[in-house]
Symmetry: C2
Subunit: 286 residues, 2 copies
């Protein structure tokens, strides 16, 4: 599968449209753009790693050479339990040098975190120059889980959409490419995956009985996601809705979006900040 002008970009196919959204109308089992089928897509996954790695290294090199101006990426992974945030980290971000990845999983806030504004812990975890930050959950939980579980009053979470938009606009303005992926798993597939966790001792640790409480609130989560996708979806910090019922498609789609985004960044190697000919002579004499 080569990337030609005729091949549609996965980032176009999966870009969440503007305006009111009903995410339950999106097919979680779809595989748009994966004309090569599962086998060909897995093959493409194995191949695209090389280009992704080189682009990531260029980004990283710029971060080292020009930290004050270097760009960064921030990939936000959201999705209900079993949607595969961990799987994407392993299979998609496992394709590139671990040195260039700054991974942060956000769980229920600690007492210290709760003493601060909801964006405090997020800001502390932002990627450094040249880095790819990957958030497994994010500030969006503060308008998702927090809303569904009524952890704050409505006016508080309502006010957060604007705060999030301003925050992400600030990131974009300072050279951070924000990519937001909603891993859209169906309710039926979630049931299968929860059951699979209970059927293998190697997966018990992934199971929490609180997952069922979240599942019981499925419809409320969908309403909350709809509002997120409608209100926080500017081109400078776009949402992608990733059909996540097929793991092979999910991992590949995120990888393609990463690759397409990095291609669009026109990343080049930083120039030498020394006299190359002179240093060659010095090394020869050393």
């Amino acid at each position: 599968m080569t990337d030609t002008r005729e091949t549609p970009l996965i980032s176009d196919l999966l870009r969440c449209p503007q305006g009111p959204i009903d995410v339950t109308s999106f097919d979680a089992g779809a595989t748009p753009g994966a004309e090569a089928g599962k086998k060909g897509t897995l093959q493409d996954m194995a191949e695209l790693g090389a280009e992704m790695s080189e682009l990531q290294e260029r980004l990283f090199a710029r971060g080292r050479a020009e930290p004050a101006t270097a760009r960064r990426m921030l990939v936000i992974l959201q999705g209900l339990d079993t949607a595969g945030k961990g799987g994407v980290v392993r299979h998609t971000f496992g394709l590139v040098d671990p040195q260039g990845i700054h991974l942060q999983a956000f769980k229920a806030p600690t007492p210290e975190e709760l003493e601060h504004d909801f964006l405090w812990r997020i800001r502390r975890a932002l990627p450094g120059p040249g880095m790819i930050g990957v958030f497994d959950r994010s500030h969006y939980e503060d308008v998702l889980a927090v809303r569904v579980n009524r952890l704050v009053e409505e006016p508080v979470w309502q006010g957060r959409f604007d705060l999030i938009n301003r925050f992400e606009a600030e990131l974009a303005a300072s050279g951070t490419h924000v990519v937001k992926c909603f891993l859209n798993v169906s309710k039926e597939e979630q049931k299968k995956r929860l059951m699979a966790r209970l059927e293998s001792p190697a997966k018990y640790w992934k199971y929490s009985s609180s997952d069922l409480e979240t599942r019981a609130n499925w419809d409320q989560y969908m309403v909350a996601y709809n509002e997120v996708l409608e209100r926080c979806n500017p081109d400078e910090a776009p949402w992608y809705v990733i059909p996540a019922d097929h793991k092979w498609y999910r991992n590949w789609a995120v990888a393609r979006i990463m690759l397409e985004t990095m291609r669009s960044m026109q990343l080049s190697w930083p120039p030498a900040d020394f006299d190359v000919a002179r240093e060659i002579e010095r090394v020869k004499r050393s």
Copy 2:
């Protein structure tokens, strides 16, 4: 290459002996235990990832399930410029789930770090329960670069060997498996690699003219490494001397040592902390 009783462990072959050491007498171009040659070794590297990944996931699962008692690993990578600390991170630690790796590169201390004891920043970077911490340089620079560059008086760095031993004994006692790898590159190979960085614009960013100052102090670094290897080499926090002139061998040897260490840890999946049959019924009804 299968691992049988007859196959010597790489962690035995490369374990740094006790007593006075002259590391310059070690062959940096050797490939002990790699009977399969370069091709077979690269093949083994591709294959051992699966077992390494599973053992890492068990370690990680324990960390989630039993954080107060779960074990950790700490891998310390030391070596002169171009020895390949970054290459090992990419190729060896890239084999496992990035979620389970806590990577920390130590550079010259910041002003804040200098306000504290030399182990302060090290302690802050220790891996959490179930994690594999990877240090690209470490507290050993405080008896290596600091010594060679005379950044503190001799009695200060002399006192650090004991402090380091006590610190690492504390880590071991609290369930952290410490693995220390000295990537042993020869002076000739270093010259080639520095030259390669000057011959490709894709590698300029890896070059620093200060590398030549370090190179000019090669013999002093060897003396300093000899003392480290002699004085800080207990079985509970062992040094391995990795021949590093062949990148394929270096990456594989560290991977084998990781794998052998994890095998020795007898890692099993944590038991369910819930009633499995009851949860299956709950999921079915959900």
